[in-house]
Symmetry: C2
Subunit: 239 residues, 2 copies
Amino acid sequence: MTDYKPIPTEFEGESLESAWLPVPGVQSAPSVLIFPTVMGVTDLELGFGAKLNAKGYSALVGDLFGKKFHGAPRDTMFGELNRLKGDRAALRRRVIHLFETMQAQDGSESQRTAAIGFCFGGLCALDLARSGTQLDGVASFHGLFDPPGLPPEKIKPKVIAFHGWDDPMVKPDAVEALARELTDAGADWQIHAYGHVGHGFTNPNASSEIGIPGVQYNELAAKRSWANLELFLGELFGE
Amino acid sequence: MTDYKPIPTEFEGESLESAWLPVPGVQSAPSVLIFPTVMGVTDLELGFGAKLNAKGYSALVGDLFGKKFHGAPRDTMFGELNRLKGDRAALRRRVIHLFETMQAQDGSESQRTAAIGFCFGGLCALDLARSGTQLDGVASFHGLFDPPGLPPEKIKPKVIAFHGWDDPMVKPDAVEALARELTDAGADWQIHAYGHVGHGFTNPNASSEIGIPGVQYNELAAKRSWANLELFLGELFGE
C-alpha cells in the first residue's frame, strides 16, 4: 500500500476524496495530477504517484467520481463514467476543480504542473488541456479521444498521447481527428502509437477488472510509455 | 569532420563507398547501419554515427547511391532517388548488400544489429525489415512509407518510425497504411507522430539543402526522436 494524505473537497454538491502524495523531505516540487481509470482512485494510480515521487514530482490522484464510489463494482463505475462523459461542460469544471485542488496543496509548485490520465482519465487530461487552463503538459495513456463538442480554446500545455493501435474504443479515425484538433488548437503535440496493443495497457489487472476483449495489459507498451512520460516531464520541468 | 574508414564495395556493377565508424578501443560492439537522406553520405550521417559511437554502438553509413555521387547536387540526387525507388526489388538487394557489408566489418557484432534511416533512407530501413532479414530493430526518421509492392515477408526486427504529422510527402493515409502493413507482417512496431512538424526534421540544413516547402529542421522533434532512438537501442541491446 502506498501512503497518501486524503484530500476531501466538495464539487457541485458531491463529496470527493483525492489522494495527495508530496515528495518526502522537500518543501515543494513540480506537481502532477493523475486522473484515474473508470475504476476511480485505486492502488494502480497510487502506485503511479509513488513512481512520480521517486522522480522528484508531487502527485495528486484526483477523485473524479466521488468518495462514495471508492471500491464500487465495475458496472456502477461504468454508469458513473457515462454520466460524467454525458456532460462535457460539467466534466471540464470537474477537472479544473481537481487541478486547482492540486495547486492548493502544501508541497505543490502551483506554477510547474502537469496532468496525466488513464483510459477515461486520459480523456480528462485532454479535457483539462482543452479548457484553456495554463499548465505545462498533459499525457494520456490509452485515453479516449472523443472531442468535447465545446467551443475550441487555444491549448497551452504540451500534449502527449500513448495509444494502442488495436484499442477497440479508439479507432484510427479518432487518432486522425485528435491530431487535427490538437493542430488546430496550436498545441505542441505527440502521439505515440503501439502495434498489437489494445486498451488499458498500463494496468496489469486490466483484463480481469474490465473484462472486455481488447482491454489488456501490455508490459512492453507500459514500459515504453512510462519511459516517455519521464522524458516528457524532464522536458517540462528541466530535470 | 568525423573520422571514418572508407569501405569500398561493388554492387551490381556500381562502386559504392560506405563509411565505417567502429567504437574506439573495443573489440566489437552492437552495430547500426545508417541509411542517409537523398543527399547521400554527408557530414549529417557521419555525425549521427559519432553520436552512436558515444553510446557504445558501431556504425556504418551505407552508401546507397555510389561513390561517384558523393557531393553531387540536389537535382542529380533526386534523379538517383527516383531511379532506386523505381525498382524496389533491386533496392531490397541493395539494402541487404549494405547490411551484409556492415556485418562483415571488424568491430561489428554481426548478430546484434539495427538499421536507421532518414527521409529516403527511412524507406530503406523499412525495406530492410520488409525483406525478411534477421536484425534486431529498424528506425525511420521522417521516412517515406510507400509499400514495396513485393510479396510480404514476416517482419522480424522491432520497428519504430518518427514522423512529422505535417510531412508533405507522407500523409495521414500513409501512416495508417504503414500501421496496417506492419501489423499484418507481425512486427513489434511503434509510430511516434509530432504535431506542427514536417519532413526532414533531424537535418539542421534541411530547408536550404532541399528547398521544398514543408521540409524543415525542428530542434524539438530532432531531440525527442533521438532520445527515443537511444531508448530503442537500449531495449534491443540490453544497455
